[in-house]
Amino acid sequence: MKKRRLLTVVLLCVSMTLPLAGCGKEESGGQVTVEGPKSEADKMKTYDPPITLTFAKSEVVTNYPAGQDAQNNAMYQMWEDVMGIHVENFILSSSSAMTEKLQLAITSDEIPDFAVVDAITLDSLIKNDMVTDMTDIYDQWATDNLKTVAGQQNNALFAPAISNGRYMAIPVANTVGDSYPILWIRSDWLEALNLEEPKTMEEVFDIAEKFTLEDPDGNGVQDTYGLYLDKDLNGLDAIMAAYEVYSKDEYWVKQEDGSFIAGCTSPDAKIPLERLAHLYEIGGIDHEFAVKDAAKEEELIASGQIGIYMGLFFNPLGVMKDSVVNVGADWTAVAVPPAEGYGAYKPGVNLNVYGYIYAKKGISNPEAIVVMLNHLCDGYAAPWLSDGTSDFYQQYTALAADPDISKAGPNNLMPFQMAGNINWAERFSEAIANGEEHVDGKDADYQNVISTELPPELSWAWKKVYLEGYAVMDLDNVRYSDYTGAPTETMSKTQSLLNTQKLTDYIAIIMGDQPIEYFDTFVETFNSIGGEKIGKEIEEALK
């Protein structure tokens, strides 16, 4: 009896304190009406008196100039001077932790006034009705320059932000060059075996085989691999695209009859898969690739054992430069060639955004978000569109010249950044030829490229990155997935299963555990798990 009494007392205490951990806030901000801009110049106005907006800042800078920190620094001050907007870091977190922190902030209903979030977090925000409808505000307040950058490829970047036909956030564009695939190949091996750079994907495979069997490093041992591949099949999608197969995860391709299929189930995939299986058989791919993640597999690049790497423009700064140190390697960038009989190479890329910028529902100046983007566009992201006349541009350039700020990274000191599409290789080469000391818009990197004080392998790397990597990109010729909107019902339930199925079966075929005909079985399984249903749901959603 006494025990039961004790228990009741305890439970009573518990229930009295329950509200502490259960309730979300009840009130929600209503929709605020916003007036349009009074004039074209108003779109780039300076708020007077200054307004304050809270923000979630991803901290990347590690060595601030003396006396400065993430909240109080020269860049934040400049934003306030130029735009009249005081940005307050309500959340300061590392970029890797930011998604989780924002998700949790949503549960406690205390999100910052604005932030740059990824598509999944945006989806949560929209579902929880926490963001302002930006459709009209964007339409009225965005400058033409901003509309060019944010609205590229026919407003493709907006897709994840659309809910009921309305824009609930604005994409913060990144350069598409960041995700454009590049074929990196050991130029010293090409020379040693007297080979030419490949012009078709078939030649790439041929070269890979020769790299494996003909001892390109001349040490008398067969210890070289033709092609890089890891357990997440990094680089495979770039090869597939040459055959017009878009095999990335969650990539949907519209067929001629209006239906949608997953890119990885396209029957043409059999051709490259078969060649990959053959390459694996002769030892051209590391036999343990299926259990090694990128960090592990890349060790073979650093030790100079891999000849071809399907990567991105900045790879020389990673393990490739280590191979220069370790074995005196040299790499060259080659434009990914098309496959024989197929059209010009068009890579499948993800939406090139830093994220999506939202305005919290109920704040009194949601148009300030667009004003910010306007300033940033002309001043930093795409200064060539306005010929460097904007206030922001001039102040930014002046600050970036300061050595302390330059050391910390001026673009990282800013609350956030945006980037337009421009081929830097052309710009940099031009600047070097003309002996220019600075390249506006990418000066920090330009300094690295022309620097004579860096260790040799870093110098090699920076030059490769900008002068060769970028040079083989064709930025206007890319394609996105035909569906990038919010996850459909079956997608939420089965997408991860589909991704796993594709990985497992592709790897099985490459490793020779299954014959190439197994691909048809794979397609069947894929569609029955959810692929077919999703295709139909997408069709519905896009009507």
Partner: protein, 334 residues
């Protein structure tokens, strides 16, 4: 004679002195009024309750209050509305979980891996603690004690790279296997060998931890018992069997029961850092599976439902093993 000795010794373990005799007499006098002898007057217990108070307050606030989160498992959680405001979903989340195509396989994997780990992790720290206890050199003993504890601190992220090297097709282990003329084993990519790898590396990483606990328990065993045994002519080995082991038996049982509570936590960090699609069939566990699902969309309801299921199973196991242990041994575990 040994048997009689054994009987004498076990009856003299600390657990079985004065209080036990009292309990036996209590059973006979159960029907008599509840007035216990003055020494155990419950009026004095207020001191004990007081000692428990601060901890209980903290416990209630930080552990019991957040329990309302379990409700999320039964709701369609909409963060804005909070836990109590979100719409009720009954058992939908659980149904969803069980209808996923791979659920049976994953549950089976989780159980199998966890049980294997518990079984093999169990005897080794005991053995090592006993062996260490026999060492006479103080410095050697201390150093070994410290060193074997260290692997516990290395994260699986770092370990995965090393394990890959050691167990790769051309790694040290396969080289040794080759010396015996056998074919190399693809530890990381073979469905069966991978499970063995998981259990083995887990034991290596954790045995030092258990050893610490058991060593402390061994030092708690009454010295005089050993003296008595030595006088009776028992050798070292017999002393271990008849004094040390029974002496630490309560702690061993306790650790065993508590570990059973972990049975559905087959080791997310380890498996996540070591696995690959090639071994999903045998190594994919509940937690890794849920992790992959939540990469597509944040789904608190599913995660909570899974957590709740694991907790329920743990609780049932702990209660059952506790009752079993109580029935067949002389002492209450907790």
């Amino acid at each position: 004679m040994t048997e009689r000795r054994g009987a004498v010794i076990s009856r003299n373990t600390p657990e079985n002195t004065a209080p036990r005799k009292e309990e036996m007499s209590m059973k006979k006098t159960k029907s008599i009024s509840k007035n216990p002898p003055i020494r155990f007057n419950w009026q004095k217990n207020w001191q004990l309750h007081l000692m428990l108070l601060p901890g209980m307050l903290l416990l209630i606030l930080f552990k019991y209050v957040p329990l309302n989160g379990i409700l999320i498992a039964f709701k369609d959680f909409i963060p804005r509305k909070g836990i109590f405001g979100s719409p009720w979903a009954g058992f939908e989340n659980f149904e969803y979980m069980f209808r996923l195509p791979d659920t049976t396989r994953i549950l089976w994997n989780t159980l199998k891996i966890a049980v294997l780990k518990i079984l093999i992790n169990f005897p080794i720290p005991i053995l090592v603690a006993i062996l260490l206890n026999e060492v006479r050199g103080k410095h050697f003993k201390k150093s070994v004690q410290t060193i074997i504890y260290l692997p516990y601190f290395i994260s699986w992220v770092i370990l995965s790279g090393m394990i890959l090297d050691i167990f790769s097709l051309e790694g040290v282990v396969n080289q040794m296997i080759g010396l015996f003329g056998a074919d190399p084993v693809f530890f990381m990519g073979d469905k069966k060998a991978f499970v063995g790898l998981l259990v083995g590396t887990d034991v290596w990483k954790n045995f030092g931890y258990g050893t610490v606990v058991y060593l402390a328990a061994i030092t708690g065993v009454d010295e005089s018992l050993y003296e008595a045994a030595r006088i009776d002519g028992a050798n070292r080995f017999q002393q271990i069997i008849h004094i040390t082991l029974p002496g630490i038996a309560p702690i061993v049982m306790l650790m065993m029961i508590l570990n059973l509570g972990n049975v559905l936590n087959a080791g997310f960090e380890q498996i996540f850092n070591l696995y690959s699609p090639r071994v999903y069939e045998t190594a994919d566990i509940i937690d890794t599976f849920v992790y992959r699902i939540s990469l597509v969309e944040a789904n608190y309801s599913l995660g909570t439902a899974v957590g709740l299921l694991k907790s329920v199973v743990s609780f049932i196991l702990i209660v059952s093993s506790y009752k079993l242990a109580n029935k067949y041994s002389d002492y209450t575990i907790f």
